[in-house]
């Protein structure tokens, strides 16, 4: 098949190199794909550059977006200035210095000890059961750093209990309501097949999928820090949680929050997060989400949780339209708003007003107690 006689090792090496290059350009190429690419290339041959590229594309891409990006990546890697692909030459990878760190975000989410700005006001020492109750009600924006650490521990513990409770609730629900003919027949063979004892079945209730959509814009500064930890705790105890951060752009941090230690998770998030303390465009961000990652989420068992104060600089119509789309896809849409903890707060910001018709539950999120109340709505 392959007319060219080249050193198979060298051509395999350049395929591998190309795969690494593609990975650096944002196509998630796994080892399976690398193998498929090598096999595909040797089946089609490198004589015809179009076919060679089609073969690699079929093997390496797995979505329309990657498909469209591929041409450029291929050209950039294989084509020499005079235009012919050169499989013999292994290019020097060009992506080594692509990793840049942004440190400014680190401070904001409180990796360093001085976590919070307004903590000094009431640094009450807390201990014992009643203090736990009190701690649950401390507004995050007023918690001192000592309280913060305490809160974190408490949150992790309570969330674990919550997830256990939720899964138990699911088990009781699995009383069957449809007759399982297969098992019924089996059970009644000894009685000559007369269906005396029926077996039942029902759809296995699965744990709900949660999507957390967390606002990290400037107006949320006092809360986003803790809410992010809350998301981390949620992800630890619920198997199917996806977490997204947004301000003017959306970024998924699900994988980072899976890190075993909170501190590592947080530093990862700090590097990836879009713009801490920037402006908010909830509508546009939801739009980005709906067009992109949002389609990955299965429809009927998802509970979508927005954590935001609803200060939106975008047009309320956009927000309303996008919320309608999201609402159509998920089972439940919750909006948790830290400002709701304020005594005389009225949901009158334009954003919130536009959103309310599509929200199943509008609740507070200013302290641990309110976050734990989430259990009721799931």
């Amino acid at each position: 098949m392959n007319t060219k006689h080249e050193n198979p090792n060298r051509s395999a090496a350049s395929i591998v190199e190309f795969c690494r290059f593609a990975r650096s350009k944002g196509i998630p190429v796994g080892i399976q794909q690398v193998l498929a690419a090598a096999e595909a290339a040797s089946t089609v041959g490198v004589a015809d550059s179009d076919r060679f590229s089609f073969a690699l594309r079929a093997a390496l891409c797995s979505s329309q977006e990657e498909w469209e990006k591929f041409r450029h990546i291929f050209d950039e890697f294989w084509r020499q200035p005079h235009g012919a692909p050169d499989a013999e030459k292994v290019r020097e990878p060009r992506y080594r210095n692509a990793m840049k760190q942004s440190n400014d975000a680190r401070l904001l989410i409180g990796l360093e000890s001085d976590t919070n700005s307004s903590g000094e006001g009431d640094g009450r020492l807390v201990s014992g059961a009643s203090s736990e109750q009190r701690l649950k009600r401390v507004d995050f924006s007023e918690a001192s750093s000592a309280q913060m650490a305490e809160l974190e521990r408490l949150a992790l513990r309570l969330l674990r209990q919550m997830s256990v409770r939720l899964s138990r609730r699911m088990k009781i629900d699995t009383e069957g309501n449809r007759i399982d003919i297969r098992r019924s027949i089996r059970r009644n063979i000894t009685r000559g097949g007369d269906p005396l004892v029926l077996a039942y079945k029902s759809r296995k209730a699965s744990k709900k999928r949660l999507v957390v959509f967390l606002d990290i814009s400037g107006s949320m500064n006092l809360y986003s820090l803790f809410l992010l930890r809350f998301a981390y705790a949620l992800q630890k105890h619920f198997k199917r949680v996806n977490t997204f951060l947004f301000s003017t752009r959306v970024v998924e941090v699900t994988d980072l929050l899976r890190a075993p230690q909170l501190s590592r998770a947080m530093s990862g998030v700090a590097q990836r997060a879009p713009e801490w303390s920037g402006g908010t465009r909830i509508g546009a961000c939801l739009c980005e989400f709906n067009r992109g990652a949002g389609r990955k989420i299965p429809t009927r068992d998802t509970c979508f949780v927005i954590l935001s104060d609803g200060w939106d600089t975008g047009a309320p119509e956009v927000l309303a339209a996008e919320l309608r789309v999201t609402r159509g896809r998920v089972q439940k849409l919750l909006w948790l708003n830290p400002l709701l903890g304020l005594k005389d707060y009225q949901p009158i910001t334009r954003g919130i007003r536009a959103a309310l018709p599509y929200v199943d539950r509008f609740a507070a999120a200013h302290n641990l107690e309110s976050l734990l109340a989430l259990e009721k709505y799931l």
């Binding site: 998630p28 794909q33 089946t43 089609v44 089609f54 073969a55 979505s63 389609r295």
Partner: protein, 318 residues
Amino acid sequence: MATGVNETVLGPKRMMPSSHKAPSRKEIEDVDSLIREFERLDYVTDTALATAVYLSTRLRKPLLIEGHAGLGKTEVAKVLASALETRLIRLQCYEGLDVSSAVYEWNYQKQLLAIKLEEKSDHTVEEKEKHIFSREFLLRRPLLLSILEEDAPPVLLIDEIDRADEAFEAYLLELLSDFQVSVPELGTIKAKHVPYVILTSNRSRELSDALKRRCLYHWIDYPGFEKEMKIVRLRLPGVEEQLAVQVVRLVQKVRQLELSKPPGVAETLDCAEAAMALGKSRMDVEAVEQTLGCLVKSMEDSAALRSADIEKLLSQSN
């Protein structure tokens, strides 16, 4: 709602005609012969798609074809089956598709009858159980059928996989890697011939990464003018050249409007065919109005098309 039943006969054993010679099954030698073969079967393809299909037959990897509706994704599997002169087994996916309608199910009525018939016999309970859970009582659904094929690897079309739920996708993953099915009462059934697998998706949701990683991938885009003309000529041999050109140009313009469901190639063919049936030899505003239902399939889209000024679209397309 689709029922997930395959298109072929579900009998326990299909008698092959004696003229059928199993080893004379076709092989596709290279990309060019695949293009020729597809064209012979009235399917216009390009090198990219042909390469992907060819590779999937060569590397024996499933091919995932994504793209908008009406661009001939399903057709690829059908044509491939005819090109390979093998059988097409189709599984139409839908929400709630489960193992009993996709893989296998026991024939309960027959089992109950068998129990009754054996009542007087002196078989032990174990023997009876073994009997009613033998292959005789197994209803083969498409996926099981695809690995039971005796003579040659069939083409297995898993259509609109994005409609099935996640759990099914996970099951499919297992099947696609081992090509075996285990039935608790019978044991494991292994494929005699690994089928050629084509999956299609309309991208109504994203598929799992694990599944995608296992497949070769092809994205079908709207065809360019030349390719679409070729398709129209091939599929509608009686069409007048002028009409075909007008319809194709119009459709290509309509696709650039921001419609919720842009017309695919199937719609182009429908529209041209409708115009022919109405005795039109060229498209005018009236003809477009009359065949509008072929092009757009919702009230909002037809309103959008009308407000885009049909006359202008047509004059641009002349």
